[in-house]
Symmetry: C2
Subunit: 151 residues, 2 copies
């Protein structure tokens, strides 16, 4: 694996990875990766499909989802489930992070690896469980809402 740049090298990396597995690089996949890279934060499956269709109206949901699965298999993309159960996708080049969803104001904070470290450590010591930061999706009250919602 060695060190590698993210971003513009992404397509290249993908082509190589696919070829190594006897798989193919197609225009549709290029579009899907582009769209995913362009929606830098998080995008639901439906949003991605819509944007892909803007560039290629012939694209179908199944193709998009299958490509996303493929990208995940290659470790280049991730998905997690939001508080409403909807899937949210993002490129793996984004720093690994968790999500904190506030049920008070509806905002979503990201939880970076540094902030999460003590949390993961405390989970491990309490349960022996090694939690994936990327699947860490908490719901609760953010500090601001906690302060204002003095009921």
């Amino acid at each position: 694996m060695a060190t590698e740049r993210a971003g513009e090298g992404l397509t290249e990396r993908l082509q190589v990875a696919l070829k190594g597995r006897g798989q193919r690089w197609t225009e549709q996949r290029q579009i899907i990766v582009d769209v995913l890279a362009a929606s830098d934060g998080h995008a639901t499956g439906a949003e991605l499909i819509e944007r892909v269709r803007e560039q290629d109206p012939s694209a179908t949901p199944s193709t998009v989802y299958r490509t996303l699965d493929l990208l995940e298999e290659l470790g280049l993309a991730r998905h997690h489930h939001g508080p409403d159960g909807r899937e949210t996708y993002h490129l793996e080049e984004t720093v690994e992070h968790g999500h904190l969803h506030c049920r008070g104001c509806g905002t979503e904070q990201e939880l970076d690896a540094a902030a999460a470290a003590p949390i993961l450590k405390s989970i491990a010591s309490a349960t022996g469980f090694s939690a994936d930061l990327d699947h860490l999706s908490l719901q609760g009250l953010c500090a601001a809402c906690r302060a204002s919602q003095v009921s």
Copy 2:
């Protein structure tokens, strides 16, 4: 509110709670609560619908989901999303708990309040965020899988 027994008093509590809100107690709701109580652990929406239909074939998904929403509103039931995004319901009489889903062996551990306390505390101190234990659903590797998956 005051202290109250769970279990057999559940139906009674529900009737009172509904009446207080100008809402009604129907046979279908009774069935849904019974089914939920019978599937002691966790059941997906689809499973619940199927079981409700065994007792009342005329029940429809919308009715079941609406009743589940109602039960949640009354604080008598909860739902959370499993690792595949499917909804899972359980009665609130079950002790509040989180979920640890192991991606190695696929098992699900429950995380009781006592074990979760230090974790929630560490989340709060790292982020100011007060997380809901009932929505705490982690994915990762359990202790056993961590030990065996020395890759």
